[in-house]
Every structure is written in C-alpha cells, then in structure tokens.
Amino acid sequence: MNVVLAKTDTGRAVSTSFAFARERLPGSGKVAEQRRQAFEAFERAGLPHRRIEDWKYTDLRALMREVLPLAASPDTTALSRAEAALKLHAIEGTRRLVLVDGVFAPKLSDLGKGEKGFSVRTLREVLETGDGALQGELLASDNSDPMIALNTAMATDGVVIEIANGTVLEQPLHVVHVASVGTPAAMFTRSLFRLGRDASATLVESFVAAEGTEAYQAYDSLIVSVGDNARLDHLRLVEDGLDAFNIASAAVTLGAHAQLNTFGMVSGASVSRYQPTIVFAGEGARVDTNGVNLIKGRQHADTTMFMDHAVPHCASREVFRAVIDDRAHSVFQGRIVVRPDAQKTDAKMMTRALLLSDEAEADNKPELEIFADDVTCGHGATTGALDESLLFYLRARGLPEREAQALLIQAFVGEAIESIANDSLREHVIAAAQRWLEARA
C-alpha cells in the first residue's frame, strides 16, 4: 500500500514539474514526442525501489522520496559562484567545458578556435536545430530504466562532442558539472561523445558544487561511441556536495579494436548511482574499467555496471575498490554477459570493499551470464577490514594508527588509480584521494 502511495505522490510532483518545465525544454515535434513517451515510462514505474532487482540496494523511494523541480537557468550570482568553484576544481592542462545548473556556460568554457576534426555543440542547439538522426540518437535511450527515462524526458542541456576520424586530441577535455542553485532544485543533462575511427582523446567529467549551494539533484546521462581502432581515456569524478544526489548513466558502444580506459571516483554526493552500459559492437576491442569509492558519514554510493560481450575476441577488466567509513554504504553490481557467439571473450571482474567502521556496509553483486563455451570469465569479491597484522607492522615502526591506516588505504585504492594513463590526471586523483584521507585523520 505504501508503495502505491509513494508512487502517486512522487508521480504527481514530477508530473507538475514536467508540465511546468516543458516550455523550457529544447526541441519540438519528434523530440517532444520522444520526451513525452519517456516521461510516461517514468510515470508508470515511479522512482525505483528495492523490489526492483537492479535497484535492490539503492531504494530511491526511501533515499530520495521526490524529484526536485527543474533548476532555473543560472543568473549572474550563480555564474560567479560557479566560477569560484571552478578555480578550486581546475585540472591543469585540460580544456574546460562547463555546465552550470544543467545549462551550458559559454563564458566559463574554452571553446577553442574551431580546430580541424573537433566540434563542440550544446544539446540545446542540436535538439533545436540539429539533424534528425543525431536527435534520434541522443534521445533513443532505453525507457525500461525509469531514471534514464526521466533523464530523456527532462534533459535540458549538455555537450555534443564529435571528433573526426584519425584525429588525435592531445589536450584532455574537462566537462565540469557545477551546481550553484540558490533553492533546492534538480538539473538534467545529457551529453554525447563521438570518437571517430583511429582517433584518440581523453575525456574528464567532474561533478562539483559551488560554495553556498542548496541541496540539489544532478541527473546526467552520457552517450559514447568509440570508433574502430580508436582509443578513449575516460575519467569521472563525483565530488558533489554532501547533501546532493547524483543519478547518472552512460551508454558506451565500442567499434572493432577500439580501446576504452575508464576510471571513476566517488567521494561526494549523499546518494550517488552510476550505471554504465558498455557494449562491444566490433571484434578485438578492449575495456579497462576502474572504480574507487571513498565514502563516509551516511553517504551511499552505487555503481551498477553492465558489460555486454556481444561479439567474439573482446576483453574486459573491471577493478573496483570501495573504502567505507562511518555509516556509509557502498554498492557494486557488475554484470557481464557473454552472448552466444562471443567466443574467445576474456572478461574479469574484481571488486573489493574495505570496511573502516562497524556500521559501514558493503554490498557486492558480481554477476556472470555466459552463453558461449570457449571463453575465460572470472569474478572475485572480497570484503573485510584493514589487516591487523599489517597495521601492527607499520605501528611497530613508529607510525601513528591513523597514518598507518591511511597508508594501507592508499595502497588499497592505488591499484585502481594506477590505471590512469595521463600523468597529470593521475596526480590530480591521487591528490584528491589524499585529501580525503587527511580529512579523515
């Protein structure tokens, strides 16, 4: 009975919000129709709850209760607050593209001088004027997941980045989502990143909050296609405010012999959920995914990854490390599917959780679904506290307890962080992890 009530309540609130926001959402005709269908799909399902298998550990009805109204376009105060925040979260040597409260901010972004083989447009631009095929691709996501459907319905802005065949982009792109709202609100963004054949690029995504920002909800969705023989390095840092929600998804398609190296770190947000789907569409592709959760207080961080080995001769590696302090709750659900013809697939997944407090919780669900017989797949999962004997060893050598712990935690997450190929990005992440550890001590 509760469930029904909760659904109607949330449904009503969002429904008003959608009707209210519709005017402000870019696109008409077919785009508006796709939004309407997606919204209906969300309304039918409501906020996901623990009785839905994929959301078993992240019950949004209990954690979130409602979807906040759409954030207003940022005014000058919001923009100047955002600018200050950007200084704090800048990563040296990157080209920045900034979204403030879910709206692209050209003044804060570095759009470059129109180099060859590289184009950036905003989602708004593409949906209002762009070609139909691209619009279709942007909104044709799966409505079976209610949160992705909600994002399709409400997506206000984002960046559409296209990199032509054979282009090698030396400078990493840094897409920064800054929350700067003055009243509690939700922001919905959707971006697309297309990497052509034989091209290569580095994409960094950050989610940050400006000083003095109210509670907010960030809903993001990323569509990535990596062409044949192309290589993408992807970095995703969730550093949202500690009362924020970050509900995001990614849909990645890999061409033949493509390479994807992705790293994600969650240290912010009260509740975060990231659900990437990686589909192998061409043979010989390889994916390395690495994830780190550094959470404390009552934070809840969920990574639900789906690796779809649809074609033969592909390889995937997943390494996930969670460090959980206080009453925080970390969730990792990894699903690897090997389709009937995907012979010679080589898929491995390893998830480890480190519990630093008696009240911390770690839930792991590494799933394998295998339909081909000539493959190597494996998964491992461990959960435990810091090794007492290692701590003793360090303390016997004069390190105070906290420092000894910090050293071991650093080593624990190190394996995942080491996977970042770009030196300055890796340094940036190591520094961020260190700050977290210092704040703990």
């Binding site: 009240e359 911390a360 792991n364 394998l368 295998i370």
Partner: protein, 498 residues
C-alpha cells in the same frame, strides 16, 4: 578454453536420454481426488490420522497460500502449473496392516531392488545383496526410509536406532507418536508463510522423514530417505525434519528418481534442519528426478526449500548436493548461523543436460559471533540447458568475526547452453571477512608448485587439487549414491569459466 573430450564423454553418459530409472511400477494405488481445496487438505490430514492442531496448521498454510503468487525471479521458464490439475495424495493401496517387510507389495520391493535401494536389513547384513558399487560392511550400514509417492513404505533398522535413542520414522508417524517434538520444531526454520512452494508444501505434505538425535549421541549409522514418484499427474510434497540435540551428530542422505513420462510433475519439498549446541548435521542429496527427454518433454519440476538452523553455539550444518535430474530445479539449501561459532557448509555439483534448467545455490546468513561458512559450487551445463548459481552471503551488524569463503566455477559444453553466476555479498560489519572467487587460479600456489614439480601439468595439478577436494566430500556418501556421484566427480575442470 573449451571442454576436453573426456569431460564431454562423461557428461554425455548421464545425458537425459540415458536416464536409467525411467521405468514405471504398475500397482494399484489410492488417490485423493484431483485438485486442491480445503477438503483435500482435510482428506490428507485424515488419511494420516493427524491430531487437530496439525490440521489447523495445514489449513492456516493453505489459506495463506491462496493469497500468495508464484515467484518469478529465478532464471527458469516453464509452462504455468495448473494447481487444480494435480493429485495431491497418492499411496500404494494397502492390502492390510503390515507387520514385516515381507508384507510390502512385492512390486514395490522390486522397484527399490531395481533402483538398488536395500529395504531388507538381513540381506544387507549377510552380504547376500550387496548394494551396487561396493562390498557391504558394518560401517556401511544405512537405515532407509523409502517414500513411494505420498507415503513412506518402509523404514529399516528402526529397532537398532531405537537402542541408541535415535528416532527415525516417517513424519506422519512422528506427528502421532512424538507430537511434542514435532510441534516444537516443525515450521520453526521454514515458517508456513516462507514462500509460495513452502507454503503449499505445509498445506499438503503427505510424508517424509523425521529424525531426532538425543543429546550427546552420535547416530550409529547413516540415515537415508529414498523418494520415488511413481503415479501419474501426482505432486510429491514431502517434509523432512531433522533435529540434532546438544552434542549429537547425524549424517543423512536423500535420493530421488521418477519414471519417464511426457507430462511434467511437481515436486515441492521442505527440509528443516535444527542443530543445537555443539551438534552437527550432514545432509547429502543425490537428486536424479526424471529430467525430461532430449526434446525437453516431461520431467520433474523441482521446487525445494531446504534450510538449516545452527541454533546452538558451535553447531555445524553441511549440505552436499549432486544435482543431475529434474527439468526445473529451484533450490537453495541455506544455513542460518545463529549460534556463536557455528559453521555452515555447502558443496554442490550441478550438471544440466538437454533442456534442463537449474537455478540453485545457497544462502549463508551470519547472525552469531565468529560464525564461518564455506561454499563450493561446480556447475556444468551441456546440451541446451541453463545452469545458474545464485547465492547470498550476508553478515549482520552483530555478527562480528563472520567469515565466508565462496568458490563457484562453471563449465559449458557446447554453444547452446548457458552458465550464470548471481552472487550477493552483503557485509554490514567491518570485522566480516568475505572472499568470493570464481576462478581456479586462487588455489594455493604452494600446492600447485608441489604438483607441477612432480611432473604434472599446471592444468592437471589444478584438476587434482579441486577434484581431490570435491572427492573428499563425495566419498562420504553411502555406496549406492556414491556410484552415481563418482561418475560425475572425475569431470575435469579444464575450461572452467567463472
């Protein structure tokens, strides 16, 4: 890496069309009218001469069942079961009250003979009728409770067990003779409201075994139940209740077969184990229900709820299963580790062929302090079958020092089948140490090195180590089960996938 030929051949030998127990026994039987209603529940209860409280218990379960819906989360697909198109009670027609084994219908005796299940105590003792696969000896004595369709037809060695104080009898008798024990423990591990199939079982269960081992007694022989479904369109709902009182030990075995038929038959059993302080229960199953033919026609739908409760401190429950039969298997033998320092174990080999669908695994629920559990599961899928391991390991806030080790490997033979692993690992306590792995690479490097150094290949060494481990478990099965299980053991683990 693909499966090696030897493995393929061995699995082939137990393929669905090689089913050896598919014969039917032609005997007259007495059945309840088709369908399920309160009247049928009353009928079964009356047939069993049950006291009023038992009938009430059943009726409550039945009413509850009416409000429940069939679960759909498992990775099994089957045509909708029409619960009104089944017989809920079938028993061989009794000629008169039996006073000795010689009065059992010779057809039934012949059936068990054909299955290799000894019902004649003397014959076994004198070695006239050695069980297949081995010489009988004093240590190999096994007490058997033979359940034919809905009733128990014979229970052997009752006298000898009585001397030791062990109660081993059909549960229908126990309800009449030891109501205090049954009332205290029945439904205390699997409550009547537990799940759809368990609730159905609570309403209509007809027979099963009851075991009570008094404090400090080590049960002098292995106990076993042999289930045989014979009648057409009949559901078999048996209920097993085993209580090991303080400091006792019992080893219990279960075997099942059914005739070859084109229709599907339903089997929904409930097994409850209770281990008090320092007690140990070892429960082994060789499940070989008719799996259906090579086109996927017929076969048993096996929906079983098995759960053990380590209620006392230092208690231990161990499940061993060899699953080769059934069209559909839906089975998760679990351990509730309530007592401090209690231990749960689950060893499973599940082999699916033809169109079989297996969704099986275990749950280890750590509640007490310093509890430990171990899960070893091997799934082998061939033909067009689907084989899923689904397991839960969870440690509660107060379960300090909980430990679990899980290893589940699966092997695919052919490209039309599927192997799946769905583990849930939940830790709510920082002192919980959980390890889950699904590869064979984590076997102690030292052991492997030792083997390789003596001339074995890496692969042979891994096979030797893992097989050696499984063998240890299976060799403790009694002979007649061991014969069947042995065939499955030497399956090489080469080409294993997570």
């Amino acid at each position: 890496m693909p499966a090696v030929q030897e493995t393929v051949d061995r699995v082939r030998r137990i393929d669905v069309d090689q089913y050896r127990y598919g014969f039917e026994t032609l005997i007259e039987s007495e059945k309840a009218p088709k369908g399920l209603s309160e009247d049928i529940v009353r009928f079964i209860s009356e047939k069993k001469n049950e006291p009023a409280w038992m009938l009430e218990w059943r009726l409550e379960a039945y009413r509850r069942w009416l409000t429940m819906t069939e679960p759909t989360w498992a990775r099994v697909h089957y045509p909708k079961i029409d619960y009104q198109d089944l017989y809920y009670y079938a028993a061989p027609k009794p000629k008169k009250t039996l006073s000795s084994i010689d009065e059992i219908d010779p057809e039934i005796l012949k059936t068990y003979e054909k299955l290799g299940i000894p019902l004649r105590e003397v014959a076994i003792l004198e070695g006239v009728e050695p069980p297949p696969g081995g010489e009988p000896s004093e240590q190999r004595k096994i007490a058997v409770d033979a359940v034919f369709d809905s009733v128990s037809v014979a229970t052997t060695f009752q006298k000898e067990l009585k001397k030791a104080g062990v109660i081993f009898m059909p549960i229908s008798e126990a309800i009449r003779e030891h109501p205090e024990l049954v009332r205290k423990y029945l439904g205390s591990v699997v409550p009547t409201s537990d799940n759809f199939f368990a609730t159905l079982n609570s309403a209509v269960f007809s027979d099963g075994s009851f075991v009570y081992v008094p404090p400090g007694v080590r049960c002098p022989m292995e106990l076993s139940t042999y289930f045989r479904i014979n009648e057409r369109n009949t559901g078999q709902f048996e209920r097993t209740l085993i209580i090991a009182d303080k400091g006792s030990y019992v080893s219990y075995l279960e075997g099942c077969t059914a005739p070859q038929r084109d229709e599907n038959q339903l089997h929904a059993a409930v097994v409850e184990l209770i281990a008090l302080d320092d007690a140990e229960i070892k429960y082994s199953t060789v499940q070989n229900w008719y799996p259906g033919n090579s086109e996927g026609l017929g076969g048993i739908f096996n929906f079983v709820t098995k759960r053990g409760d380590c209620r006392g401190a230092n208690s231990k429950i161990s499940w061993t299963q060899v699953e080769t039969g059934s069209a559909i298997t839906w089975k998760y033998p679990s351990c509730i580790l309530r007592g401090d320092n209690s231990r749960g174990e689950f060893y499973s080999i599940a082999i699916s062929n033809g169109y079989q669908q297996v969704d099986s695994g275990t749950k280890m629920i750590h509640l007490g302090k310093n509890t430990s559990s171990r899960i070893i599961s091997k799934g082998i899928a061939a033909g067009k079958s689907q084989n899923t391991y689904r397991g839960l390991v969870t440690a509660h806030r107060k379960a300090t020092g909980a430990r679990n080790y899980t290893a589940c490997d699966s092997l695919l033979i052919g490209d039309k089948c599927g192997a799946h692993t769905v583990p849930y690992v939940e830790a709510k306590n920082s002192s919980a140490t959980f390890e889950h792995e699904a590869t064979t690479s984590k076997i102690s490097e030292d052991v492997l090195f030792y083997c390789v150094q003596r001339g074995l290949s890496q692969e042979e060494a891994v096979g030797l180590v893992v097989n050696g481990f499984v063998k240890d478990v299976l060799q403790q099965l009694p002979m007649e089960f061991a014969v069947e299980a042995q065939k499955l053991i030497s399956i090489s683990l080469e080409g294993s996938v997570g």
